[in-house]
Every structure is written in C-alpha cells, then in structure tokens.
C-alpha cells in the first residue's frame, strides 16, 4: 500500500487555514451575548445617569446573586441534556426548611439542612429522569408541583420568621460585607470559580459534556451515563438549595412563595448564554452573561420607570432578539 505523505497534508491542510480566517468573525459572533449585554448597559447609561452609580451597580450584583447561583445549576443540567423546572420550588423549599431548622436548632445546622434538602430533591429528579427514563420536562414539572405543595404544607402557606425573627448572624449574611463587598456577592463568585473548574477542567466535566452531547457514545465509551445525569440534577438541587438559603437571609424569612418563575428565568439566561437545550454545549461564564442580561434589563427598565406592562413587552423582545442574534453564528457555521 502506498501512502503518499504530501497528499495527506494537502487534504487536511485546508482546514487550519480556514480556521484562522474565521477566527476574528467567529470570535465576535461567539461573544454575541456579551455584545448584547454591553449594548444594553451602554443604552441604559446614556438614558439614565444613575445607572453607573456605585450603589446601583451594587444593587444589580445583589439582585443577580441568587439567580446566578440557580443558573449555575441549570447550566449543569442543560449541558447534561435535560432541564429542571423544579428549581424555583427548590429555592422556596430550602429557604423555608433552613429557616425552620435554624429556629429549632442553630444557624449552621439550618443552612446545612436547607442545602441538603435541595440536594435530595435534585437526586429524586435525577433518579426519575435517568433511571425511570421520564422526560425531564415532565419529571421536573411534576417535581415542581410536588415540592411547592410540600413547602406550603411545611409552612402552612405563611412565611417562616419565628417569634423574634431569624437569628441575627443569619441576617448578617444577607446584609453584611467582607472587604467592602456583600457576602451575597462573594458566595456566587466563589461558587462560580469552583463550578467552572469542575465543569471545564476535570474529567467529570468532560463526561458531563459527552453524556449531554451523545449519551449513546458516552455510554459505549464506558461512561456511567445514568450516574452522570443524576449528578447534574443533584448539583442543580444543591445550588438551588444554596440560592434558597441566601434568599432567605436576604428576605429575612423563609418564603413559601419564593422562587416562582426562577426556572423559566434561569433557563432563558442559560440558553441566552449560548447553551444548547439538546445538551452537550455550554459555558458557565456565558450563563452568567445571560443572567446579567436578564438582571440589567430589569434594573434598567425600573430606572427608566417604564410602565410594568411595557416592561414585559421589552423583556420578551430583548430575549428573542438576543437569541436571534446568537443564531447568526450557527448559521455561519
């Protein structure tokens, strides 16, 4: 057999060059969500001089902190090829459980309980999706309703505050600062670093992407796909739990109605950040950009005192426009 070397180099030589040429265009297109975010900030900054004030920027970070954490978990689940409609209910459940346990015992136990219950619900989701093979939409929709019912049962429908409010230390978490920055902002920053590492730098992360990208291929390569899928839901549950506890400290109470629509908002944020709902594609920092698009938009519409009916129209339009702009990339590929 004759294998001519030059011939091969020609045949594939075409590709790297093409790659370089595409680099600049693709790089920009790939950062479309970031462009959208910057644009949004620019427009708001021009229309309102208050937008760039330190206090407003702090507000945005504070308001984004809980959603950012939820969106991290959602990113994992979406990369695994599913999604989690129950995360809003998980936020409420863990906030209430955490408030309730800390009133009965102490603050650390309360926080731990809140996060743990999120993990448990996440595990159930994962079990139903990966073992019972129920479609994620149905499984987590069912779980969303069940968990909301459970929260209402636990709390009897009323916020949990205790006789004299929640413990001071816990409330400190919701309002205190470290190095001049709110704890509530530190938490997502630290979690972002950890979960970026886990997603993008470890073997586990690769398996998650592979499982979401092609479950069959991952399975045949010896990946324990069921376990990987379950783990994604567990992370989502745990992060939902953390978000719930943080929200409770911010709201100084366990709120049974907290977290409504968090599932849709976080899915929208993650997808705006470029993750694919069929799985296998996504980046954690991009999901954060998605979160900021949603949050800055809400803040800017409030600052500009746009009527709340018009706000909805604007939010919807921006979501669709951002997603459509992001599609230009795929069409060029």
């Amino acid at each position: 057999m004759t294998t001519s070397k030059e011939n091969q180099t020609i045949a594939i030589g075409a590709l790297p060059e093409a790659n370089e040429k595409r680099f600049t265009v693709v790089a920009v297109l790939d950062q479309m969500p970031l462009v959208a975010l910057v644009l949004l900030c620019l427009v708001t900054a021009i229309l309102s001089d208050r937008f760039l004030s330190p206090i407003n920027l702090t507000n945005i970070l504070l308001q984004a902190s809980v959603m950012a954490i939820v969106a991290m978990g959602m990113t994992y689940v979406i990369i695994s090829g599913g999604f989690d409609l129950s995360v809003g209910s998980i936020v409420a459940l863990s906030g209430c459980v955490s408030a309730w346990v800390m009133l009965e015992t102490n603050v650390p136990l309360g926080i731990a309980a809140g996060i743990a219950i999120g993990g448990v619900v996440g595990y159930l989701n994962g079990y139903i999706v990966s073992r019972l093979k129920v479609n994620p939409f149905i499984a987590t929709l069912g779980m969303m309703v069940i968990v909301r019912g459970a929260v209402l049962l636990i709390t009897d429908g009323r916020p949990i505050v205790g006789e004299d409010g929640l413990p001071e230390i816990f409330l400190e978490l919701g309002s205190g600062r470290f190095l001049g920055i709110h704890y509530l902002i530190w938490v997502p920053v630290i979690l972002f670093i950890i979960f970026s590492w886990l997603l993008h730098m470890t073997a586990y992360g690769r398996r998650l992407f592979a499982t979401g990208g092609n479950r069959e291929a991952a399975y045949l390569a010896g990946t324990q796909v069921k376990r990987v899928v379950t783990s994604a839901y567990v992370w989502c549950g745990i992060l939902g739990g953390v978000a719930g506890v943080m929200l409770a400290s911010r709201l100084q109470s366990g709120q049974p109605t907290a977290g409504e629509f968090y599932e849709l908002t976080s899915i929208a944020a993650v997808v705006l950040g470029g993750a694919a709902l069929h799985g296998g594609v996504g980046k954690l920092y991009k999901s954060m950009i998605g979160v900021f698009i949603m949050m800055v938009l809400a803040n800017s519409l409030n600052l500009l005192n746009v009527h709340s009916y018009w706000q909805r129209v604007a939010v919807g339009l921006v979501i669709i426009a951002a997603a459509a702009a992001d599609q230009i990339k795929s069409r060029r590929n």
Binding site: I55, R158, L251, L303, S308, Q311
Partner: protein, 287 residues
Amino acid sequence: AAGKTIGVALASDTNPFYIVMRKGIEIQAKKLGWKVRIVTANEDVNKQVNGVMDLVAQKVDGILISPIDAIATGAAYKAAHDAGIPIISIARGSKSKYQTLFVAMDSKQIGRDIGDWAAKKAGGKGKIAMISGPPGSNVFKDLADGFKEAMAKQSGMKIVYEQTGGLTRERGLNQAEDILVAHPDVKVIYAGNDEIAMGAGQAVATAGKKSNLIITGLNGVPPALKAVMKGSIDMTVVVSPMVWGKLGANIMNDYLSGKKHKQKIFIKHIIATKGTAAKYLPPKRKK
C-alpha cells in the same frame, strides 16, 4: 343549622390573607358543627368556576366564595343558584344577580384612606412610588386607584413610579432598591400588601433612609404589625381576615336558619400605626 356541609371557594392558597380567612371559616364551622369542603384557585378564574361546579356536584348546603373576578365567576353563581344552593361572597364581590349576600370590603375606600394617611404624614409634599399588586384583578387595581385619588387632591405630591406585579417580599426588596436609585428623594412608598411593604422596608433600612421615608402596607398580618411597631414600615391596614372568615360563616349560618340580612354587609378596616399596632396582634400562642 348543625350537620351541614359548606363549600368554600377561595381565590388563593398562598396569599396569607386567604390562608387566615380560611382558618377563620374553619374555626367557626367547627363551632357550628359543619363539615367544610374547600377548593382554591391560585387566582385563576376558570379554575375557581370549575371548583365551584365541583362543590355544586357534591350538593353542599351553602357556598362561601371570595370571587377572583366580579363578572367572570358568573357561571359559578348561576350553577349554585340552579342547584338551589345559597352562595355568599366574602371580601370580593360579584355582579351576578344570583349572589345571595355580600360581606364586603371597600377596596377603593381603603386605598383612599391609605393615601390620606400618607399625605398627612408626609405633610402634603413629596414624591411617591407605588409597588402595586398584580394586574388583572379589580381588588388591587381599586386599591391603587383609591390611593391615587387621594393623592390627586394633594398638589404637593407627585407619583413618580408605579409598577404592578406579584405580592412577594423579594419583589418589594428589588423594586425598592431600584426606586431608591432612580428617585433618591422619594417620600412615600405605597406597597400592594404587607409582604411587599416589608421587602421595601428592608431595602430602605439598608440604604439608611428610613428616618424620612414613609412605607404603607395592607392586610395587617402579625409580622407586618411587628414591623410597624419596630418602625421598619409605617402603617398597615388591618382588614382582619380571621374576623371576616368567622363572620362569613356566621352569616351563612343565619341565612340557612332563615335569618334575614342586608344584601351587602360592610366590614370595617382599621389603620394600624406605630402607636396602635400592638393592639391588633393576636394573643401569643404557647408552644
């Protein structure tokens, strides 16, 4: 009229107002020796109509309803009427001719009273921001309209911000944060209910602006009364859903035993402020 079965159709099972009203009805029903069958609707009118029909199908002896909408629940009233079941509205009323009685709250008047109180407190001057309740239902719209009416009489007061939305503390917090940025000199924050008010109170306290800013609430649930006492919000309106619930049950009892009432029975609402809030707290439960 002991041994009766009474159907109850409430607008929501997550709004503290209705949760407490439900308790009131249940407590009173127990005293009267009734069975209660409850359906709730999460503010979905169609679901409420369905729920009432399910009650009618069960042939209950009477129905207490807090209709989500005055017109849209017409089919429910008609169904009850056709089955010969008396149907009494509490808190929210119906325009249906089949409404047996109405234990009413005057939402617009409450809004006016809040407005008058706030205007007086603010000295008739200053900017106003409104974090109103959800759109689509007349109650919250009437409350806000009443408030605006009162403010329209004040030449020195101006509404600079109004948003409608859900009745959650989180929303109160987030919106108040944004209000304080957009309008740092805001004088009055009107909140659609106590939860919103308490969220706003937190934002204002964090910003260190509480001393010269007025926050109004609505409903008079215990945590809000405590917040009024602490001064983190300035007033709430005690509409006492517990009393309403009991009253509703009593009036149903009267009706079933043949006692006559006026078609419309108004309930008083009371403004609770720092000085008076303690009075309206329910007695402490022992564990």
